[in-house]
């Protein structure tokens, strides 16, 4: 008795199906159905993609119950990990906040679509309820002896090897197609990092961090402009929001008491310093 079988056994995959599977079904089914409804009702594409990912994980767990551990893992790995991630990537690429428009372009289309959907549910459930199914055989024995992955490999590389080859060709074609579709011919030569750096400097704007407020000033509060080494207040050191509100203290105002203080210390300080400080 291997652990996988034990796991499936814990989920009661064997025949007769146990209560554990029933419990799991009644957890999984509402979760997947509600998440799938997210596709219908989510305004943002990201929310739809998220609920879709939840459906995928739910189905992956369902496959584990159905004696298909390989398929369950591949489902989560391929669908959640690659496909839905690709969806998310595209959603973020083409407008993150683009909420779907709620304008009905064809009159009454939504009503008709919902009626059709409900009709489809009725039709399918009716068909399933009318069908006579054989007694459940289960795949426990197959999973035990050659193993689930081995058995699938036998089938793929034996009975379905031609289909498998075709799928490989299809995947390569799809990859090529995606590259061709999203390819853009480069019209101008690629700008190198050196060129970019040269352009940045050539722009002439200040590239270093802006001076901090209050440097060399009487105050170091954010509303006090920094004084440059020559004593002039630096416009760039105060947030432009403060300047727009008119909350910037003038440099003269804060420098005025400085002159008094400096006159008291006139002896040790040289002329140049005093001049620079009081301006």
């Amino acid at each position: 008795m291997t652990s996988a079988m034990q796991l499936s056994g814990m989920l009661a995959a064997t025949d007769p199906p146990g209560t554990a599977e029933t419990a799991l079904f009644w957890v999984l089914a509402p979760v997947t159905v509600v998440a799938a409804c997210g596709l219908l009702f989510a305004r943002k594409a990201v929310h739809a993609a998220l609920s879709m990912a939840l459906v995928m994980i739910g189905l992956g767990v369902a496959y584990l119950v159905h004696d298909a551990p390989f398929l369950g893992a591949v489902q989560v790995f391929v669908y959640t990990g690659a496909v839905m991630m690709l969806f998310l990537f595209v959603v973020m690429l083409i407008g993150v906040s683009a909420a779907d428009s709620l304008v009905e372009t064809i009159k009454g289309q939504r009503l008709v679509a919902v009626v059709l959907g409900l009709g489809l549910v009725l039709l399918l459930t009716g068909a399933i309820s009318q069908a006579t199914l054989d007694e459940t055989v289960g795949l426990v024995a197959v999973n035990e002896d050659p193993g689930n992955v081995t058995m699938i490999a036998f089938r793929i590389f034996d009975d379905y090897v031609w289909a498998f080859e075709l799928t490989g060709a299809l995947l390569i074609t799809a990859a090529l197609g995606a590259m061709v579709l999203t390819h853009r011919e480069r019209l101008t030569p690629r700008t190198t990092q050196r060129q970019l750096a040269a352009d940045r400097i050539a722009e002439g704007a200040v590239k270093a961090p802006l001076p901090a407020p209050g440097v060399f000033a009487r105050h170091n509060a954010v509303d006090t402009p920094a004084l440059l080494p020559d004593g002039t207040p630096s416009e760039a050191s105060v947030n432009r929001v403060l300047r727009a509100r008119g909350q910037v203290r003038s440099a003269e105002e804060t420098a005025a008491p400085t002159a008094v203080i400096q006159s008291e210390f006139a002896e040790p300080l040289g002329d140049g310093t005093e001049e620079g400080g009081s301006r």
Binding site: T2, S3, L50, A53, F70, G72, F77, G81, F89, G147
Partner: protein, 467 residues
Amino acid sequence: MTMLAENPVADFSDDTIWVVLGKALFIFVFLVVGTILMIWAERRVVARMQSRPGPNRFGPFGLLQPLADGVKLILKEDITPRAVDRVVFVVAPIISGTAAFLAFSVIPFGPEARIPFTDIRTPLQLTDLPIALLFILAAAAVGVYGIVLGGWSSGSTYPLLGGLRSSAQVISYEIAMALALVSVFLYSGSMSTSAIVDAQASGGTAQLFGMTLDLPSWHAITLLPSFVIYCIAMVGETNRAPFDLPEAEGELVGGYHTEYSSTKFLLFFLAEYVNMFTVSAIATTLFLGGWRAPFPLSLWDGANHGWWPMLWFVLKVAIFMFCFIWLRGTLPRLRYDQFMALGWKWLIPAALGWTLVVAGLRATQQFESVSTQKVLIGVAAVIAALLVVVLFIDWLVSPEERRQPRQAAEPQAVDPFAGGYPVPPMPGQRLARTSGPVLVAQQVPAAGQDTTDEEQDSQPGEEARRG
């Protein structure tokens, strides 16, 4: 044709629900304590590498520092910015944190052992599946959602860029990682962790030129290219330096978790470290023989029984964790395009080619009953022939100058004061004069003529060449 057993070898049939819960609790505690120790070790080791003491105030050797930091982090204010998408903003760190712990449920810490003070014998592993490695990859794939959604839901530029970078990064590196794992699956005949560890018990023997050789058993040796590719990919997968582009501080402030604070940030932080433990544990299990004792220790019979293997396992994981710290202390961050080029142009083709080689070797061994010796000789011959052909083609197509070393170009003389203020010479230039602010219009002497002594001092090669 020999068929390798696909299903796990560990036997969990005696586990009661209490044993399972106990194991789960142990894994949780192991990872959280490990994370705390790892944060401490990282700060201390990086500090040593940078010649500073590191945290040493709180507890012996500063051991309690990460605990204090963690408590401080939890007690901080939990800020939710106004622009965020509230539900996703809360869910993202939870996804990240939960998925990080999932993978450890299939990692074997050791063989079957008796739980102390009871008669229960159980494998030191929470569970195992025939598709355990796929399960780990799936858990990692779900974990990425935390990062991407955290970046998106923050409603801010830098986190979004960090999230996008991360999704592209993980998708790219997961391919190389999975391809590196394929050759291990081929050689172990299973995707279950316990079976893979079992397959590395003994490498068997080979007859090579009349001698009987014990083949190495660890996949790190027999499948060295896979191991190298996995090690590179695992650093990319965990967003650690030098591949920490999703949270590059210098470019993106904090990356995807810029807007997060308090407990939510803690979850992201925890997930990053637990992911490091996970990839290290996978590398140990798949390539370094898992819990099996390394060579000199393995001569002692008891080394692979009871609780000892857990020690070897933890030590091997610790070595990988040290390498993570070492990398961070040593290497600068890659630029994003360099990183993607490494993944797509080097790792994935290399992994594909190697997988092809391994599959071919495996098929000849399994289906054609050719001895290992013949296969190895054949492979060596093919590689040698390819090497000769490649070298010949390289010699044929190489330009003239590569066959005859090019002579150094004559340095061009420039006037450093021509623009009004002095500039240093560019490579391949030499200074016509070295002092004097007065602009002189007449000179820029032609190369090789009337140079002064100072210039010849700066160009020793030129003197030698002329003489």
